[in-house]
Symmetry: C2
Subunit: 373 residues, 2 copies
Amino acid sequence: MEKREVVILGVGIHKFGRFTDKRPHDLGREAASMALKDAGVDVKDIEAGFCGHVYQPMGVGMEVFREAGLTGIPVTNVEVACLSSSRGVMLAADLIAGGVYDLCLVIGVEKMQGGLIGLQGGEKSYEELMGMMTFPSRYALRTRRHMYLYGTTVEQIAQVSVKAHKNACLNPYAHYQVKLTLEDVLKSRLICDPITLYMSAPNSDGASAVLVCSKEKAKQYTTRPVLFAAWAGGTDTYIQGGDELKQSPAPLLARKVYDAAGVGPGDIDVAQVHDAFSPAEIIYVEKLGFCPEGEGGPFIWEGNTEIGGKIPVNTDGGLEARGHPLGATGGAMIAEIVWQLRGQAGARQVSNAKVGLVHNAGYGGDNVMLLKV
Amino acid sequence: MEKREVVILGVGIHKFGRFTDKRPHDLGREAASMALKDAGVDVKDIEAGFCGHVYQPMGVGMEVFREAGLTGIPVTNVEVACLSSSRGVMLAADLIAGGVYDLCLVIGVEKMQGGLIGLQGGEKSYEELMGMMTFPSRYALRTRRHMYLYGTTVEQIAQVSVKAHKNACLNPYAHYQVKLTLEDVLKSRLICDPITLYMSAPNSDGASAVLVCSKEKAKQYTTRPVLFAAWAGGTDTYIQGGDELKQSPAPLLARKVYDAAGVGPGDIDVAQVHDAFSPAEIIYVEKLGFCPEGEGGPFIWEGNTEIGGKIPVNTDGGLEARGHPLGATGGAMIAEIVWQLRGQAGARQVSNAKVGLVHNAGYGGDNVMLLKV
């Protein structure tokens, strides 16, 4: 069947940080309101809603939409761990491409009370019983493997966080607007060797909102929409006891979206890469094809992912410094790429950005998306 | 755009009840395995997965699919309270109708540790502070209103539960296979006047699975698929302090699916109606058009919703007696209608059932679906 083209019509963010005096609804409503204003869309024109969240109360999506003034439409809460809201956007895009809807709003929202270090529930596997299945430990395993195979250094890993924090200082929505030196990162508290505190994404509260629209319908609102050119998602290929570095579906998904959009990794002008822990950026720039396998460490050390570098990555500070409210993260990644492609990224603007990539990953799989103007 | 026709290719259930020694994964895997066997489908042929659940750990859907032998595909957890898994089926159907996929598996799974009486989190509304926003109290409000407006009696309400338990005795997957008398129901512990314990759905563990397929692709597997003829979902139109009886989107959604399928309520041979509390069946048979507004009480009292009656409702025992593991309920409702339409419902078979309706409701909205053979 012929598919329709899909665009991102508007985006919004509630600043990431700690907001103990606000309900998740307050965060979500503010992000939604910003996206609606950005697009010039009346909330009543929205045909379906999705809410990406992990730990919020049952029905929070419906409540947020109700508080935003919209009842009657189908609202579906979507949970795929750290990639919840980008999966919401991809579902909306699929439904719009397939002719089911013309205009959907995806809200991502999370309040991270108490933080998150492990996976809950169920009978424990051997790895879990040994404490190996918390997120820091899984990432640490991958990192040690990468260091062993390719000679990646802790300084290269720390540099990811230094760059992230530098970029976040240019982003008013970021959780932490503070510069860190290599020494700050390396000497911060050890979480799981070799990962230190400042190599780890903070537990932020926050919200994001993305208006997804058919290209046809978008003509009513704008003459310069951002094309949601291609997208693909999938679970990892985890095998108990298998190589932690080889379970990611990112290479396959990246290939799918490159092929679908008729581009290659060399055509990407700006990217969001899932840096829940700093070594992840090194691992994923390889898996997305921005540099050869094993060369992520030197690639980042030499400044290729800086604003002004060969392929600027996480221009908004990334998960490391912008923050990581699980359900809101994917939408925020998309928002940053939209702003970059529109030339609205202010002091952190990448010059002449025409093609952007979003890679959002986590427990539950990966999503890879391409946006174009 | 022209939409493709969608069928239900296979269904499965893990018996509802209390299974303290099993993980949610064990329940989900068993239901999935039954659905795959029912359809003659290899798990590797599934293109996308959805998992309906409310209170299970993050990523449970991905883990269930992994344990069922399937990685790499996108798996999305869907939460819309009591209607989670039927929303998963509707999303799959939309995606298949729109040409995105041909074959999806929707698993609904829930372990109800500790039960559920209220809504969590967030700033409390006036109603919540007064204890009015637990589910028994919301249903009790609607019930008292119905009794006031239409003269509905507690005996009529209790009869819903008597019938449900009678039907459940014929369903090997039901949580409670025990007959109740009118007196049993009326004299059981008062939960929220006029709702008694035996007018309330139990907190069951359980799982359901539904294989959703394009009609075209289904030809590979069967010559007699069950057509998923029409579906519609939407949030309620709740207004704080408004009439609890008027907030349901069910009448509008029912009209939509009747129109889409070219039928009326009189054409429905068998129905699943969301009886989280017994009065709900009385309220919803009206809203779905099976009897005029206000006449639900006498309609049920006179036996019209019994097996062999004018429109058999909740032939499997309904939420009342089959049980109500939130995320699994919607899929189980669909499974019962599929078995009825295929003539596989054993001792509870409705003769010559050709058109079935599923109404799944809860905090987050309603889903109404029509199935045909």
